[in-house]
């Protein structure tokens, strides 16, 4: 049911919302999160980042977590898009959209899904710095804690 995409191209948030809600008159609210590339990380200026994924496994895992969100909250639809390849500061990285009759369900599911995408989905990020050097980003403990909080709580 959920729309799941991993793609190099940019996405259009307005068009994705329109696609999710087209012809529906039973939706109360749409929760949305758009992640974008920041020009700095760990105190260093970033000129670009490159995102890699595991084709097949990534999409499967995204479909599974979307199904879990749909089981936890009364969602009427859900869209997850994650970009891969080279992305420059200001570019969109990831989109989460959820539709629900209830605003808290939509926003809680959005937070749950972006926490998972940031901490559990098979993507790897390499940062490119102003001096030409590059480095793979280390997984951050704060992100693991953010995802862990969903393990113990029911909506």
């Amino acid at each position: 049911m959920a729309g799941i995409r991993v793609q190099a191209e940019d996405f259009d948030v307005g068009a994705e919302i329109a696609a999710l809600t087209a012809g529906r008159v039973d939706i109360g609210g749409i929760g949305c999160f758009v992640g974008t590339v920041r020009d700095h990380g760990a105190g260093r200026r970033i000129t670009a980042m490159t995102l890699e994924h595991y084709p097949g496994m990534t999409e499967q895992a995204m479909a599974r977590i979307a199904a879990e969100a749909e089981a936890r909250w009364p969602l009427q639809g859900c869209t997850l898009i994650h970009r891969v390849g080279r992305l420059e500061p200001g570019a969109n990285i990831v989109l989460v959209l959820t539709a629900s009759p209830h605003r808290h369900a939509a926003l809680d599911a959005t937070a749950f899904l972006i926490d998972w995408l940031k901490t559990k989905a098979p993507f790897w990020k390499k940062e490119c710095f102003a001096d030409g050097s590059e480095a793979w980003v280390d997984a951050r403990e704060a992100d693991d804690q953010a995802a862990a909080r969903w393990a113990a709580t029911a909506p």
Binding site: H53, Y54, M57, T119, A121, W124, K125
Partner: protein, 93 residues
């Protein structure tokens, strides 16, 4: 069928992020020794295949694995025909 055969079949192995860079390839198909039946045994055996492989698996604790596209621990079984992937902890979004 048992210990007397040298290999038990082939395994498709994928590498991502800095593991891919260290091994020097994103994918290889290996003839699986019959003595290798778990992810942990596979990692130990892969380290012996060359300096790139050795470098990739040197930092043991931070290597993650998936067997047939499901996250797997070191004691998970590997069987001929499996797709096994090695990668660092994920850093998406």
């Amino acid at each position: 069928m048992t210990g007397t055969v040298a290999t038990a079949g082939t395994l498709r192995i994928l590498y991502f992020a800095w593991l891919r860079e260290r091994v020097g390839t994103s994918e290889e198909t290996v003839a699986l020794p019959a003595t290798v039946t778990t992810v942990g045994e596979l990692m130990a055996w892969l380290q012996t295949r060359g300096p790139g492989h050795a470098a990739a698996f040197a930092a043991g604790g931070t290597v993650r694995c998936a067997v047939n596209q499901d996250f797997a621990h070191a004691d998970a079984a590997v069987r001929p025909g499996d797709e096994v992937a090695f990668f660092p902890p994920v850093t998406g979004g």
